[in-house]
């Protein structure tokens, strides 16, 4: 860490936090948004035999969660490389 300037440390952290905030916004929308708050609206649509809101609550949100973590992992790996803060 010694070779990083204070500005670099700040820049790295704020890029991390802004990525996190974006992904957590998606996390919130697919579960609390589509699965709970907007469930009645989405239930007017169907995918196969599923009402859409019900599908988000019992299936879709979980798939999105998995994708979100892997997006975070790969974006953070790129950020670590850019700032040269990888562990090895």
């Amino acid at each position: 860490m010694s070779q990083m300037t204070d500005e670099q440390i700040k820049a790295y952290w704020s890029r991390n936090v802004s990525l996190m905030v974006k992904l957590l916004a998606v996390w919130f929308v697919v579960s609390f948004g589509f699965g709970i708050i907007l469930v009645d609206v989405l239930n007017q649509f169907q995918i196969g035999g599923y009402k859409l809101g019900f599908w988000f609550a019992q299936q879709g949100s979980i798939y999105c969660f998995v994708v979100l973590i892997f997006v975070y992992t790969s974006r953070m790996a790129a950020l670590d490389r850019e700032f040269n803060v990888e562990e090895d």
């Binding site: 609390f32 609550a57 998995v66 973590i69 953070m76 562990e87």
Partner: protein, 576 residues
């Protein structure tokens, strides 16, 4: 082969595997014992975390709860998976970077206070002990139903197995047995689900089967289920809200932040080699968990449909009690299923009307355990479910016991009472602490206290209102100080316990429910199990206000926070 022999064979084989792994993976150092040497591959750790996380409640009870709650049961599905997103982004990588052995250790260092560490140890022990009682009961029930041994004998056998691999191998032994247990439990869960989905819809993937049409008909399975439950007087399955939208919101959020704050899950991320492994490992854990969690709603809906179709094969034609199938008789003897012939016609009427309903008890747990029998699946599938249920309970119990034992030997003994003991002495102490934890958990499983029923929910409420906020603020804020953190944790737990006990009695002794004149769920219509999020908000607010009013965080601690935010240099931080 008959069911009994097959069950002994399956359970016996899986148990031999666990013991073989225990002998192979003995712990040689405290680092082995607490964090499995720190060299577990992220995918392997993901699998172990999945087994650690998915308890008897996930395996046995969850699908049953969804089965009877319909859409309202979504709170468990979203709540118990969404927490891993928080864990991956807010906690796991930073705590891994910090590179120590226990959760209270981080809280103690970050808030430069032994008091904070002790408060964290107390929170951890309450969470983990309440949670482990449920696992012990699960082990006892699975043995007594499937192997027809006494509940106590079953409990003792389970304790011996856990004792063997966790005392010998610590986290190292637990990690590798959890990987084996994950394989057993996921096969045991998905195989019956695939059979049932094929039977009902012709689609082998339960996740798709749930959205398909019924075999030989144009009607969607969910539409038919909605229809039959409404005919019986229940609410529509796919829209049945749990109390209110606000309550479902709070319940889901409480389970999510509770999940992220449970110490036995967090310490699993201390076992991977690097910070980026901690991130990806959370993703892998969720992949493995999602296999079960996306199957569960299909199991729930299909089991409900099968149950109703068994009792009322054609509309208005109820099953004759004397012609009931064998599984019905088996579960009647356990008391989990009860029939009362109210109109004395010898037939089983099932409805939502308390006056005429004759299925006076259908326990949630039956829906998974009896599901293969209800769907008339072969005996080996039923035997596999027994082994899977045991794997789920054992793997979670071991993880919890390790969290308890390490906080006693590492945080209390080495951290406070006797800092000068050698590593070898500490390793022995942690083995002794583990043995006592197992004995204590076994005793509580044998003799469950009154509060056992409400306990798992309490564990989530406590983790959500105490540990999660303290950890998150410790990483994301440099201004939260010792006074703020301690006051926040105590206020968060206090509010949560107050609400729960006000409803259910102090330590769940009903007669001590105080303020009984208040209406139930009086705060915004939120039920006590969903209150952790409110406690969490209180914790955050109190910590921020108190920190503003008291002193600044020492420069050295601010440096520590900077240090954990950057992946580089993890290996040096690991020195003890």
């Amino acid at each position: 082969m008959d069911l009994q022999t097959l069950t002994y064979l399956f359970v016996g084989t899986t148990f031999s595997i666990y013991i073989a792994i225990a002998i192979w993976a003995r712990a040689g150092s405290t680092k082995d014992f607490y964090v499995a040497g720190g060299g577990v591959h992220p995918v392997a750790n993901g699998m172990a975390t999945a087994a650690d996380w998915m308890s008897a409640a996930s395996f046995i009870s969850m699908a049953g709860m969804i089965s009877f709650m319909g859409y309202g049961g979504s709170v468990f599905l979203m709540g118990w998976t969404g927490g891993f997103v928080l864990l991956a982004m807010l906690l796991a990588p930073y705590l891994r970077k910090y590179g120590k052995f226990t959760v209270p250790e981080f809280i103690g260092d970050r808030y430069y206070s032994k008091t904070a560490r002790v408060v964290a140890v107390i929170c951890l022990i309450i969470c983990s002990v309440t949670y482990v009682i449920g696992q012990m009961k699960g082990i006892g029930v699975a043995f007594s139903r499937f192997l027809e041994v006494e509940y106590t004998t079953g409990l003792l056998i389970g304790m011996c197995i856990v004792f063997f691999y966790s005392v010998l191998g610590g986290m190292k032994g637990i990690t590798y047995t959890q990987i084996a247990q994950f394989c057993v439990l996921i096969l045991a869960y998905t195989i019956p689900a695939i059979f049932i989905s094929l039977n009902l819809t012709g689609n082998p993937l339960p996740q798709l089967g749930l959205g398909s049409t019924m075999n030989g008909s144009e009607t969607y399975l969910l539409d038919r289920l909605d229809q039959v439950v409404m005919d019986l007087g229940f609410n529509q399955y796919t829209t049945d809200v749990r109390l209110s939208g606000i309550n479902m919101f709070a319940y889901t959020m409480s389970l999510m932040i509770g999940t992220a704050g449970l110490p036995h899950v967090i310490i699993r991320f201390f076992t991977v080699p690097k910070v980026r492994d901690a991130r990806s490992s959370a993703g892998w854990a969720l992949v493995f968990i999602a296999i079960l969690y996306t199957t569960a709603p299909a199991v729930a809906a299909m089991a409900r449909l099968n149950l109703i179709d068994t009792i009322e094969p054609t509309k208005g034609e109820y099953l004759v009690y004397d012609e009931r199938p064998q599984w019905f008789k088996n579960w009647e003897t356990t008391g989990l299923l009860q029939f009362e012939d109210k109109n004395a016609d010898g037939r089983i009427q099932y409805s939502n009307d308390a006056a005429s309903n004759e299925m006076v008890k259908v326990d949630n747990d039956i829906m998974v355990l009896a599901n293969p029998e209800i769907a008339k699946l072969p005996n080996w599938v039923i035997a596999l479910v027994a082994a899977g249920g045991l794997a789920a309970a054992l793997s979670t119990a071991a993880g919890l016991l390790l969290a308890i034992a390490s906080s006693i030997s590492h945080d209390l003994l080495k951290g406070m009472i006797a800092p000068n003991i050698t590593e070898k002495q500490e390793l022995n102490a942690s083995r002794i602490a583990m043995a006592f934890a197992i004995a204590g958990a076994g005793y509580l499983g044998y003799n469950p206290p009154d509060f056992a029923a409400g306990t798992v929910a309490l564990a989530f409420g406590l983790a959500a209102s105490s540990i999660f906020p303290a950890l998150m603020m410790g990483i994301f804020s440099k201004t939260i100080n010792r006074e703020g953190a301690i006051a926040g944790m105590i206020a968060g737990i206090g509010v949560t316990l107050f609400y729960v006990f006000q409803h259910k009695g102090i330590m769940f002794v009903a007669s001590t429910a105080f303020l009984g004149d208040m209406e139930p769920n009086w705060f915004l219509g939120i039920e006590p199990n969903a209150f952790g999020v409110v406690g969490g908000v209180v914790n955050f607010s109190v910590a921020i206000v108190v920190s503003r009013l008291t002193g600044a965080v020492p420069a050295k601690v601010q440096e520590l926070v900077e240090h954990i935010r950057i992946p580089m240099g993890a290996s040096t931080a690991q020195d003890h």
